[in-house]
Symmetry: C2
Subunit: 297 residues, 2 copies
């Protein structure tokens, strides 16, 4: 590990702990609800994870001169949307997965009905946290609008819908990139945008973060596909080799492993380059991009 990465790794652990503490507090919001449901919500939301999206919110805010304190509700909201989408994507009628983040998937642990409801509850909770926690109210409303769009039919949900049929219907690089722009890219991008919003960032800084987010999102997805081919299941925490077995459209499948690795590296440099206008405040985001390239889970 290079010094750059070791430094970021330490910083990321601290940010993760800060996000996990806040998520734990928010999860007790649900304590007045039926016990089985509350348990499923906690189980999925607090399962060990990279917390990449909340980190993008916090570091996006930092890169624009904002504070972690102001950005934390938005950081938790994007993780709630992420946790909800994993629960629903794992369902038998969807990707039918039984392992997630190194644990049995929510429906394996709590049953299908409770898993569907836990996902629904987490999606609603994300908006409750944003609407109540972000200040001033203008920013809260703008954050709700941006997150709803990113989580909606044309982005996150639409990407999952496309992903369910892709491969079966053929399709090439354009379709694959479009799926991932929706399915992964939109949530990474909105994480950076929410960070910028809570920092009251100007248009130039926001555009720089968006350029970074576009490149990072695609790099992230390519490394995700590569992990499915080359990763270690116990490190990655989910079943591997599944894309190939299901004949899914993937970057290594379309471009080969070597070209996928090369492309991910180029995108990470593109992402780092986009941060230049933000100066030293964006140092952590720059390190994070390299971290995405070298991740093993």
């Amino acid at each position: 590990m290079t010094a750059d990465l070791a430094w970021f790794d330490q910083r990321a652990s601290k940010l993760r702990a800060c996000v996990d503490a806040a998520l734990t507090t928010y999860a007790t919001f649900a304590s007045g609800c039926p016990a089985h449901l509350a348990e499923a919500i906690r189980y999925s939301l607090l399962a060990p994870g990279k917390r990449l999206r909340p980190m993008l919110v916090l570091l996006g805010a930092e890169a624009c001169g904002g504070t972690f304190e102001a950005a934390l509700p938005a950081a938790c909201a994007v993780e709630m949307v992420h946790a909800y989408s994993l629960i629903h994507d794992d369902l038998p009628a969807m990707d039918d997965d039984d392992l997630r983040r190194g644990l049995p998937t929510c429906h394996k642990q709590f049953g299908e009905a409770t898993a569907i409801l836990a996902g629904d509850a987490l999606l609603a909770l994300a908006f409750e946290v944003l609407a109540k926690g972000v200040r001033p109210a203008e920013t809260a409303a703008a954050c709700c609008a941006a997150l709803a769009e990113a989580a909606g039919a044309c982005q996150l949900v639409g990407g999952q819908a496309d992903d369910l049929v892709a491969g079966r219907d053929g399709g090439g690089l354009d379709l694959l990139e479009s799926i991932h722009r929706r399915k992964t890219g939109a949530m990474l991008l909105v994480s950076l945008r929410l960070g910028a919003m809570t920092a009251a960032a100007d248009a130039a800084r926001t555009v720089a973060l968006e350029r970074y987010g576009h490149a990072l999102g695609l790099a992230f997805q390519i490394t995700d596909d590569l992990l499915d081919v080359r990763g270690n299941a116990s490190e990655v925490g989910k079943r591997l080799g599944k894309d190939q077995r299901q004949g899914k459209l993937t970057f290594p499948g379309l471009l080969g492993v070597d070209e996928s690795v090369r492309r991910a590296a180029a995108l990470v440099e593109e992402a780092r380059d986009a941060l230049k206008p933000l100066g030293a405040q964006a140092a952590s985001l720059a390190a994070l991009a390299r971290y995405v390239l070298q991740r093993n889970r």
Copy 2:
């Protein structure tokens, strides 16, 4: 039909047409998403319905001196949440229903995966519409917070979770009323609250609407249970007699039909009584309460 009800029936038709036109416009928001998903969203959102919740938003606003125009985005948002909850409640893992609003349920028509995703998309869309459509931004943020709470783990989702196990686990009137406060009552109540918010209502008016909403919500649920026992399936638009077959906790099951009818009537009078401080502006809400008592679907 009494003159009072005939007058309300005409008014309700006009309001329904106004809501349906707005919902149709919003449904085209989803036109950039995968075609199959967009079709499922339109199918479920625009299926013929009573539009009770949007009507409560509009008439709640009217009762507080607000305009329909300002309240319409909130009216559409509550119907989106309602449509999403019906789609998910009907899923095989949940209530396993095949008929809804007189049509095949969403998963029967489009498959389970698409139904789950269409529900998810509608929940997100509700917040998008609220956050973008309600003005000023302070009101939009407050509306998002209120709707998220009502749709969340302690209310709508929690009520459905309780409902799935109720009956199987026994339980009496207290449990039944608690389920319905969550499952039906919370969304009826928040509809009135959103109406009041968009009209910038003072505390006294808001409290009057809330008293009305509490009584109306319970009356609505009792008549719903009665329809399951006594209704005509083609009018009601869903399978009947199912509660009893599944051994579900219901008001007629616990109190008998006659006492349920009596109690619903008393609650409707209580609801109408709560409106007195609002004067003539609340005439439509008063008529709506009687309409709920006499509904056949």
